[in-house]
């Protein structure tokens, strides 16, 4: 058996919306943007997916708690997953947001997961400005 590894070390620019979003994560805030209808999109986008219109960048801080809209339990995480033990990928509508953010919920057990449950951000101590700077835990566990 032989193993080959191909690596592509890209660096990409983040732009005027994702840059501040990830800067916010580094600094311990979750930011969304408000579209022309007043809805708050999290994660923030440069264009409104409903209309295709450019969004006037108007950041709104949301969370840090939110509600699970749907979820899937990951029984055997791979090394690329955000957590190294079983967890849920969930769509989480953070308080103050009108859309849901896909993120990991560290619930310990699938029995503790349910649609509609409340979760809250758990921040890493050392943050790099990356989506993995946080994950979520059930609110009662926080």
């Amino acid at each position: 058996m032989t193993t080959h590894t191909i690596e592509f070390p890209y660096t990409r620019t983040l732009g005027p919306v994702i840059g501040p979003f990830l800067t916010g994560l580094r600094d311990g805030h979750v930011l969304g943007v408000r579209n022309r209808d007043g809805r708050v999109l999290v994660p923030p986008l440069e264009w409104d997916p409903a209309t295709g219109e450019a969004i006037d960048v108007d950041f709104v801080e949301v969370g840090p708690a939110g509600t699970v809209e749907t979820w899937a339990w990951v029984t055997e995480p791979t090394r690329k997953h955000p957590l190294d033990h079983p967890f849920a990928f969930a769509l989480i509508r953070l308080d103050g947001a009108d859309t849901a953010l896909l993120h990991a919920v560290d619930a310990g057990s699938m029995d503790r997961m349910r649609t509609g449950m409340r979760v809250v951000a758990r921040w890493k101590d050392e943050r790099a400005g990356h989506i993995t700077d946080l994950s979520f835990v059930p609110e009662e566990a926080a």
């Binding site: 032989t2 690596e7 660096t11 990409r12 990830l22 600094d27 805030h29 950041f59």
Partner: protein, 187 residues
């Protein structure tokens, strides 16, 4: 609301993201390459000699693509670990990701004594880059038996002995005439 720390023109803001993509493949070695690798660990270079045209393939492929005939263990031949530099390239390394070399180095084709078998992209050792020439006589520098590894041998590493041979060292013998290697294709 825009928190002060996230102003886009704040020099401390996050503007770039590393986007590291990694693909890892695992593949079993085909039987003839497995045999080649096992023999490398023993310090032997083996090839298959086509029973039809007589060309030697190193590592063995299990077939001769010219005659379109199968080759088997019965066609196996042990090759010399001495040979002649029949072509070379001086590589001036650019420091792209993954490049560990910092100084110009040579990658040479070495045609083994006794036939056509040629190992490509070989390291030369103990010879300055500007002294390398076609016709130079060289001998394999084997790693000590316990330090050999065939982890980098793949089904496509034609002619490679990486992990078992450190490179090829000039023997000091008179050069072979360069003319005999010109205009030849190697296999």
């Amino acid at each position: 609301m825009t928190p002060a720390a996230t102003e886009p023109d704040d020099d401390n803001s996050v503007k770039m993201m590393d986007y590291f993509m990694q693909l890892e493949y695992r593949e079993p070695l085909c039987p003839v390459v497995r045999r080649y690798a096992d023999q490398l660990l023993e310090g032997r270079l083996i090839g298959h000699q086509c029973p039809s045209c007589g060309l030697v393939y190193l590592p063995p492929r299990g077939y001769c693509p010219i005659c379109v005939v199968e080759t088997t263990d019965a066609d196996e031949t042990v090759l010399s670990d001495r040979g002649t530099v029949t072509n070379y390239t001086v590589v001036t390394p650019v420091q792209y990701y993954g490049q560990h070399e910092t100084e110009p180095f040579v990658r040479a084709s070495v045609t083994l004594d006794g036939g056509n078998a040629t190992m490509n992209l070989q390291d030369l050792v103990d010879v300055p880059v500007d002294e390398v020439r076609v016709g130079m006589r060289v001998a394999a520098v084997w790693k000590p038996k316990g330090e050999r590894s065939v982890a980098d041998i793949s089904n496509r590493s034609w002619g490679s002995a990486e992990g078992c041979i450190d490179g090829w060292r000039p023997t000091g013998e008179p050069d072979a005439p360069a003319e005999q290697f010109l205009g030849k294709a190697t296999f």
